[in-house]
Every structure is written in C-alpha cells, then in structure tokens.
Symmetry: C2
Subunit: 307 residues, 2 copies
C-alpha cells in the first residue's frame, strides 16, 4: 500500500499544491512539544480531497473518461471531483443533499459539474448515485472507499514526513477513513515508530467505536459542526485498513473543535473548517487557556460554521 | 540604503519568520496576471512590524538596553517592541490610546510590556511618549520614522524578490511609510524596473496627497477600518524616501478593502487585517466579481474589523 501512496505523489506532481507546514510557538511552549500543521486548507479547492480525486480520476481509461464520472458528497469531495473533471475534460455528475452548504454547492457548480439533489431524510446518497451510474454508464469515484482515493489522501502525510522527518505522533481527522488510512499507511512507511491517532467528534464517534470493538458501527446524520465527518461509517476498504494501520482513536467535544477553530483563526491567522481542526482540538484544555487572552467581543460567530 | 536592508536581513536570521508566499489561481485567471502575496500575517506577532522593531532594538548599546525602551503605537508595532523586549531582556514601555483594540492591548501585555494609556482626543501620542522618555532615560523606538525600523521592514520585500525574481509591480500598504519606503528601497536594489506603488485608504490619503504635491499633508484620526494606516502623516525620514524611491501612490475605498479581506478569507483561507489587504484592494472590481459567488449568509461580519 505504501508504494501506492508514493506512486500517487508522482501523479500529483505539478497538479496538487505542496502545502505549507506551519507551527505556533505559543502552542509549543504551552504543551512542551513541537506540533506541525500540514495546511491542507491551502490545497486546491481548500481541502486534501483534491489529492484522492485526482489520483483516482487520472488513472481512468479513455473509455471511462468519455462516459463521465459520478460521485456523492455534500462538500469538499464534490468540489475536488468537479475540478479534476474540469482539468482532465471529463463530465462530472455530483449527487448532493438538498441541505448542502451553499458555498460548497456554488463552488462545485463553478467547476462545471452537474448537480443532482436528493433528500437525505428520504434516501441514501449511495443509492441515488448508484442508480444514475447504472442508467448512464458513469464511473463512480466514491469519497473515501476506493484504493486510489485513499492512496491520494496519503500523500499529504507523506509530504509532512519528507519535510519534517520522524514524528512521535500523527493526529488525523476521521470521517469515512480515507485520509486516516492513507495517512497511517504513509506514517508506517516513513516513520515506523510514529503512532497514528484518528480523531473524531464525540457526536460522530462511529469509527472510534468500530476501532475499539473491531465491529463496524454506524451513525445517522450526526449533528457535529465538523460537517466533513458526518459520514455514517467507515467503508468496506477503509475499516480493515484502519484496524491494521491506525494505533488508536480519540474523540473530541464540539466545544473543543470550536476552540481549535478560534485558535487557528486568532493565533495562527488560518481559516480552517471545523473538520480540519480536529487534530488540534485534541489539545482541548490547553487551547481554552490560550484562547482566554482573546476578548469575547473579537471572537468570530461560530454560527457560520454550523451549517 | 539597500545595504542596510541586506544587513537587516542578516540580523533577523533565526529570529524572524521567513514568511510563505501565496498565490490564487482564481485571481490570476480573472486579471490575467501573476500575483504573489507575501504573507506577513504569518510573521511573529502577526505583522511585518516585528522586522523593524528587532532590527532597531538589537543594535542598541548595553547602556541603552539597561535603561529600557519606549514607543507609541495602537497596534502591531507595540506588540513587536514588546516581544523583542522580552526576547532581548529589555524593559518596554508602550504609550497606547485608551481606545486601542483590546486584542492588541492584551497581546502586548502578554509580552510583559508596561502600557501607559492616553486620550487621543486630548493629546498627541508622540508628546506623551517624549515626556516619559526624557523623565526616565528610555530609548525611543518610533513605529516608522527611524532608519533601522525602515531597513527592517524592507526585508519582507527583499525575501519576496529573492524567492520570486523580478516583478513588474510591487503594491505596498502605506501608513507612516516605513514599510513602503523600506520595500521600495528593496525593490530598486533587487528588481530595478519594478514599479513600487504605495496603497492608502481613500479616507486616510495624506501620503498620496503628499506624494503628488511634494508637500507634507496630514490627516486627523481618519475613520478607515484599516487601523494600521491611521497615522497622521509620513515622517521626516519616510517622506523624502517615499518621494525618492516610490513610483506612484493610489487610494482604495473602504468597500474595496472589505472585498479584499473577504477574498483572502474565503478564497485563500487567510486571516488578514484590513491594513494588510490594501494591495489586493487595488483590484476592486475584479474582487467584487469573484466574491459574488460567495452566498451572503456565509460572509463574515466585517464589524469585528471595525475596531
């Protein structure tokens, strides 16, 4: 699997951004550790999802490309598939819930994708997409449960290890487990003693329960503000990979996620969506302390993240 | 003067951050140009002011250091002097208006500075600081009108040219003209055909008027949201430097500044204070077009910038 992450990195060269790695002296001093942030908010479309989508779509045959591709996603994966479709001149169809964030929908349409809406209260997105795929001959590029998507997502951690060297611990947000399993594979290949910890919102703790019980748990429409982690469960491919490569799973509270977003905004000048702040949220109590110095009237409304 | 900027760069090595340079494909496509952003929001204390303060204070004699230093500033220069004082173990006194942004005041106190408040409606900050300096033997580190401060500020542009090469145009925010004159000196040294343009808010256009009439104009407490440019005028040192090295001056509207802050937030995931967005604000109409795709309910309240 590690070779597939390395091969993905070659494919992404000149297409994906090699994102910067940031640090905060304030945080490091507070927790007596060195923490590095791999800034995938600066990736194309604003999230790591571009990596997996590109790595999967660029390997399709001419025949597959000419029929078009389909996916289901409420957010970043949709934008990623739409942008890659535009870059590689492949028609894209995105199945999106009718309550998807308007920013993400607008950005997806801007890249020329066709959006098919569905009601998440009535249907599962996979079913809607599957029916369209069969009727039209599209190729499905699922958001996480696909080996080329997983290998692509792993390239962010690969770049981190290449630049920083060995790490003691790697904290990775977990939704469907694509980024988490890809990152854990990269970690074992690059820094074998590094412990990879998956981080989930308490409100969407299906993967944590699945990891600890070794049985797949699911969750329905969890109300976490970390909308990138609202997936119902790990996948057929990601679950075994998480069990094999990930060392532990932890959950964080909604309050901790908000503290992390605030810290990134005020102290590090970074705009990071809640799902991207999960790793930092693990430092809950320290963040609360550090954020105390920010007077309340200057804090951003968190309402805008509560999509 | 260019040699002084180069010497400042050597002094700052291992103390200042070499800040990243970012770009936006969306912006470049829209205006058919290549634009590079030197991200001084990622500098220590969150602004370029660290560069000038460090370059000035690290050159003080032991005798001067032992007496302590003083400055007047409502914002980033205060934090910069306070942090450098902490790093070099020099006592710092900051004269600050009683309506200074609470975040900036809190950050300054955190670095161990003593803050002396004054009422900006009743007194000029320079007078308050001057009286304290004489009574206590402090050394004054003014926010812009000081050759070592100017040389330090010029190192940001120096790094930009070193990394990117020649540029056609360099857009630089202008308050008291420290960053502007330092940057223009660096530009002439590194990329002689580059035109350096100073950018000011329309509401605080004293330097633009001074530049065009070659006579020093002043302005009193301008109400621009770009609080870093609320200085009354260019200085005794910066005015002649601006006349000699700067190629042109332009003003931007408050609305354009807000569009620039929004674009940086939503499209580039960067938290940039209004004063730092002045260069981008020059692309006014293009930004409006690009920001249109962001639905209104997801726009940040600009109230929090209106300190």
């Amino acid at each position: 699997m590690f070779e597939q992450v390395q091969a993905a990195k070659e494919r992404l060269k000149n297409y994906a951004n090699v994102t910067p790695i940031m640090a905060s002296r304030t945080l490091n001093r507070c927790i007596s550790a060195e923490v590095y942030f791999k800034c995938e908010n600066f990736q194309r479309i604003g999230a790591f999802k571009f990596r997996g989508a590109f790595n999967a779509i660029c390997q399709l045959s001419e025949a597959q490309r000419s029929c078009g591709i389909i996916t289901y996603s409420s957010g970043n994966h949709a934008q990623a598939v739409a942008l890659v479709g535009q870059m590689l001149k492949v028609q894209t169809v995105i199945v999106m819930p009718n309550n998807a964030p308007a920013t993400k929908r607008a950005a997806t349409e801007e890249y020329g994708a066709t959006i098919i809406e569905y009601d998440p209260e009535k249907k599962a997105r996979e079913e809607v997409a599957q029916a369209l795929k069969i009727n039209h001959g599209y190729t499905m590029i699922p958001p996480f449960d696909h080996k080329d998507v997983i290998a692509g997502q792993g390239t962010a951690a690969l770049e981190l290890f290449e630049e920083i060297g060995n790490l003691d611990m790697l904290l990775v947000p977990c939704g469907g487990g694509g980024l988490l399993s890809g990152s854990a594979i990269a970690a074992k290949g690059m820094s074998p003693n590094c412990r990879t910890i998956g981080i989930e919102p308490e409100l969407a703790d299906d993967a944590t329960r699945s990891f600890h019980t070794k049985k797949l748990h699911t969750i329905k429409n969890p109300l976490t503000i970390a909308d990138g982690t609202r997936t119902p469960s790990l996948g057929k491919i990601t679950f075994p990979l998480v069990l094999e490569y990930v060392d532990d799973m932890k959950t964080v509270s909604e309050e901790a996620i908000i503290e992390a977003v605030k810290f990134l905004f005020y102290r590090m000048k970074l705009v990071v969506e809640p799902s991207g702040a999960l790793g930092l949220a693990a430092f809950d109590n320290n963040l609360k302390l550090l954020n105390k110095a920010i007077p309340a009237q200057y804090l951003p409304s968190t309402a805008k993240y509560n999509l």
